[in-house]
Amino acid sequence: MAGRSDILQGTLDLMVLKTLDAMGPMHGFGLARRIEQMSDEAVLVNQGTIYLCLVRLVQRRWIKPTWGTSENKRKAKYYSITRAGRKQLAAETENWQRISGVIGRVLLLGGRR
């Protein structure tokens, strides 16, 4: 929905890409679990949200889905990162680090006064 900030959406995209890059192909459930663990359950309020993010990333061809079977013999859709996805991840990571550095410095500046 339009209300959700683009930053949060972008963050989730970045986290999904990073996770898939680091851990290899995963299904939505695993991704949701992983991101919750990493962020102390702060990012995903509804686990369903991850699927909207996945649709977006698939349409951009940064990740690619295939149907498979989970470790518990359940049918599941597995996602893996593509070459374009890795490139995007690198660019976004650099971008993120630069912005967070700038924000950090600005916030420090405010703290000193």
Binding site: Q59, R60, R61, A84
Partner: protein, 878 residues
């Protein structure tokens, strides 16, 4: 960037695969819930609690799904697609309506686009010259004649004066109007199409060769080297488009000419027939050394800042100086005409008439579709009301109409373009080779950017019209009344009022087209049956030419005629310099009456050189004196036969036979006979004075009167001529009737009469169909009223009269309005009419009667239905 593109494509794609994607998404969510439930169970929850917690954790499923759709696709496009699907389904469900509407509209669009194609080719697309609007043709005229009646060509010597002295033109060039050159090929002499021009001809037009160079100034005149330029076609067909054609030598008119250049592919010169070879005016030729031999037509580019009026004044001044200088007694004034007028002047009124016709036709077609839509929207009021009641916004309903008319118009446009393409091809195919050669710009007729733009504009207007028309009904749909089962009345009445106005309009337009078609057909008929002054049946025409050989004038013609006379099937043989019903320019000479007060005034009139048997073979009518004799011709006696118009003009109160007259050069000739006017020139030209003198030429036109099948004589004709002179150049023979039919004015008049008749018949069918629709609808609406009337004792015949009366009123109004419109529009047509008045009563009456009869037939079916209404059933339906 690329990712954004993929994203957009994915979203567009998802609009078409939404069902599968929805299912996929649901399946994935299900799988997630199952896994979460499994996990919860492992954590110790009961199965039921585990599933409940899992569902909570994943979030609102419906919200997710709707957000998924929004993220995935393009919501606006998806609703539009929904409307589209609904619209197509609607049309599919009413195949009768859809076929009628799309068919009618497609025909209207096709006719419109096809004629626009010709308008585009002739009036919009520029001539293939640089700044064609600055080009003019320059003539001199006699002030004592009506403008356009006499246009004098100029002599080469006078042209030279114009070129060096006139300030009116930036540059001026000329071409010799006598077309055709003789080319020597390995197979023998061949007459080829060609023109002789002055050296600056192509520079004046602003045409640059695609290969080689243009003529240089020193390549014109008596001592100039002989060079030739090729038309693109000739280069391709005769020389296979090879670049080494430059520098090759061709033998033209018995002299070696060096090829120096090739003209561009799109070049054509519309004032002369197509020419393959272009040479300069050069070498010794008696005509180019005499100020009296006028064989050139001039084309000039106006000097910068010079208007055509100013140029005319300047030219007038020059002509006056030249007259004083050379002691010419004949007053002459300058005549300049824009080249575009000169080229398109003839076809312009025809194209305007045809274009007017197709606009009216499209109007009728649109009115028919509008009334179909209105009639249908009547039936859809409840559908609209229901959709409105369950929450469709008004804008959504309007969009529905827009989408539906877009489908309708879109389908019609595609169909219409295909039909138009086919129509343009077959129409250009109908023109014979002469016509295409005369109107080279028509070769480019076909679909192009401008035609597509025009079609798109038409489609836009139609979509707007068809969206707005049923929208008036929406106001009704909003009212609650519309939901009620038995609501009728006001809506039906208002639609009927609009419907009737539309029908009157349609019938009026059909009348206008019928009358126009009638007038044009009558003109074409009158033109083709104009009194030619001779018997055109069983008469074969051909022309025999010779290469540039020295020859005693008259001998070849005499020999050929003597050999032909005894052939079976040949009744009479005659020859002349030109056959009757010719086109274009014919030789003229000054007529002068010695010993008269007005003897100083010389008027130019056509003069034919004819054999002794000429008039007898043509079966022309002798009014006084005698025809020519063999002796007159062989001894080249100074005798002349004049026509009736000449006799009336020069000898109003006396017998011309035996009187002297100077034709061209003195001495005077003696008038020996007066012949009834013969159509020497185009059919539509009014009679002019003309003279016939004994034949004294080398080349000749041959006229053979046959007693039986014309076609059987033609091969014998050719063999015989070949026997007499193997290297003679023989024009393909044709019958005189064929020659008359192929006259450009006849072809154009006939073609436009046929086309307008086609439009008129289509308009008649459409308007009568429209009338039928309105009457049938009216009977349907009034069946209760009719039932009540009959229950109260009305006779069936009075019901019949009621319906027929209603229809008669509409037809009467349409015919009256249409006849008034027809008289007005016929005034616009008057330039196309021949021997027919715009208010021609028989045509008006016939057209009106045709319309009325067709309309009454269309009324018969609904009236019959009204008569057979069962009063009981009609009342029970209440």
């Amino acid at each position: 960037m690329l990712a954004d593109l993929w994203h957009l494509l994915g979203r567009i794609g998802s609009c078409f695969t939404h069902r599968r994607l929805d299912q996929d998404f649901t399946e994935e969510l299900d799988s997630h819930v199952t896994m979460l439930t499994d996990e919860n169970v492992r954590a110790g929850m009961s199965a039921e609690e585990a599933r409940r917690q899992a569902l909570i954790r994943i979030g609102g499923r419906t919200a997710l799904q709707s957000e998924h759709r929004a993220t995935r696709g393009l919501p606006l496009v998806e609703t539009a697609l929904q409307d589209l699907r609904f619209g197509v389904r609607q049309l599919w469900a009413h195949p009768g309506f859809a076929t009628a509407a799309i068919g009618v509209l497609a025909v209207g669009i096709a006719a419109n686009v096809a004629i626009f194609g010709f308008v585009d080719a002739a009036l919009i697309r520029p001539l293939p010259f640089e700044q064609p609007s600055r080009l003019v043709t320059a003539f001199s005229t006699r002030p004592d004649r009506a403008p356009g009646q006499s246009r004098n060509l100029i002599s080469y010597l006078n042209f030279l004066e114009w070129r060096t002295r006139s300030r009116a033109f930036k540059s001026i060039a000329a071409f010799d109007v006598r077309p055709g050159l003789v080319l020597r090929t390995p197979q023998g002499a061949e007459r080829v199409t060609g023109l002789r021009v002055t050296s600056d001809f192509f520079a004046t037009l602003g045409v640059r060769p695609v290969l080689g160079r243009e003529f240089r100034p020193d390549e014109e005149g008596p001592a100039a080297p002989a060079t030739v330029m090729l038309a693109y076609d000739a280069w391709q067909t005769r020389f296979a488009g090879r670049a080494d054609v430059l520098g090759q030598v061709l033998t033209i008119q018995g002299q070696p000419h060096v090829i120096i250049g090739v003209l561009p592919k799109d070049f054509y010169f519309p004032l002369a027939d197509h020419a393959d070879f272009w040479a300069t005016i050069r070498g010794p030729q008696p005509c180019w050394e005499s100020r009296g031999c006028r064989s050139l037509q001039a084309v000039g580019r106006l000097a910068d800042g010079m208007s055509i009026e100013m140029a005319r004044t300047v030219q007038d001044g020059l002509l006056r100086q030249l007259r004083l200088q050379y002691g010419d007694k004949n007053p002459e004034t300058a005549a300049l005409a824009p080249l575009t007028d000169e080229v398109f002047g003839d076809v312009q009124p025809i194209l305007f008439a045809l274009f007017g016709g197709v606009v009216l036709l499209l109007l009728i077609a649109s009115v028919n579709v509008v009334s179909l839509l209105l009639a249908r929207s009547d039936g859809r009021i409840r559908e609209m009301a229901v959709r409105n009641a369950i929450g469709a916004s008004s804008s959504r309903l309007v969009r529905q109409f827009a989408v539906e008319s877009t489908i309708l118009v879109g389908a019609s446009t595609v169909l219409g373009l295909l039909l138009a393409h086919w129509a343009m091809q077959s129409l250009t195919g109908l023109l014979n080779a002469d016509m295409v050669s005369r109107m080279p710009y028509l070769q480019g007729v076909g679909l192009n950017g401008r035609l597509f733009a025009w079609t798109a504009a038409l489609a836009m207007v139609a979509i707007g019209l068809f969206t707005l028309a049923p929208m008036g009904r929406l106001a009704v749909a909003r009212s609650v009344d519309a939901l009620k089962e038995s609501s009728r009345g006001s809506a039906g009445l208002s639609w009927q009022r609009i419907g009737r106005a539309l029908i009157v309009g349609e019938l009026a337009i059909a009348t206008v087209l019928l009358v126009s078609a009638g007038l044009l057909a009558k003109s074409a008929y009158r033109l083709l049956n104009v009194n030619t002054g001779f018997n055109a049946e069983h008469l074969i025409v051909t022309a025999v030419g010779l290469g540039p050989a020295r020859e005693t004038p008259g001998t070849l013609a005499l020999q050929v005629a003597e050999r032909l006379r005894p052939l079976p099937g040949v009744e009479a043989v005659a020859y002349a310099d030109l056959a009757p019903v010719g086109e274009g320019l014919a030789p003229t000479s000054g007529f002068q009456l010695p010993g008269r007060v007005s003897g100083d005034v010389v008027e130019d009139h056509p003069v034919r050189r004819v054999s002794a048997s000429y008039f007898a073979t043509l079966q022309a009518t002798l009014l006084a004196g005698r025809f020519l004799t063999e002796d007159d011709v062989t001894s080249a006696r100074g005798v002349v036969i004049i026509n009736q118009t000449a006799a009336r003009r020069y000898f109003p109160d006396e017998d011309p036979v035996g009187k002297p007259i100077v034709i061209g050069m003195p001495p005077a000739r003696q008038i020996v006979g007066v012949v009834a006017d013969i159509k020497d020139g185009p059919l539509e030209t009014p009679p002019t004075p003309a003279a016939y003198v004994p034949f004294d030429q080398v080349g000749f036109s041959l006229l053979v009167r046959t007693s039986r099948n014309d076609a059987a004589v033609i091969p014998a004709l050719n063999t015989t001529i070949r026997e007499v002179r193997p290297n003679a150049l023989i024009q393909p023979a044709m019958t005189m009737t064929e020659r008359i039919n192929r006259q450009p004015s006849a072809t154009l008049k006939r073609a436009s009469a046929w086309l307008i008749s086609g439009f008129a018949v289509t308009a008649l069918i459409l308007s009568v169909m429209g009338l039928y629709g309105v009457m049938a609808y009216s009977v349907g609406q009034r069946s209760r009223e009719i039932g009540v009337r009959m229950a109260l004792g009305a006779a069936r015949s009075s019901v019949y009269r009621l319906i027929v009366g209603e229809s008669a009123w509409l037809v009467g109004a349409g015919t009256v309005v249409g006849s008034a419109g027809a008289i007005l529009s016929a005034k616009l047509l008057s330039r196309l009419l021949f021997a027919t008045q715009p208010w021609d009563v028989p045509t008006l009456v016939t057209s009106a009667l045709t319309l009325i009869v067709c309309a009454l037939i269309a009324t018969f079916v609904p009236a019959h239905r009204a008569m057979t209404v069962n009063p009981l059933q009609a009342l029970r339906a209440e």
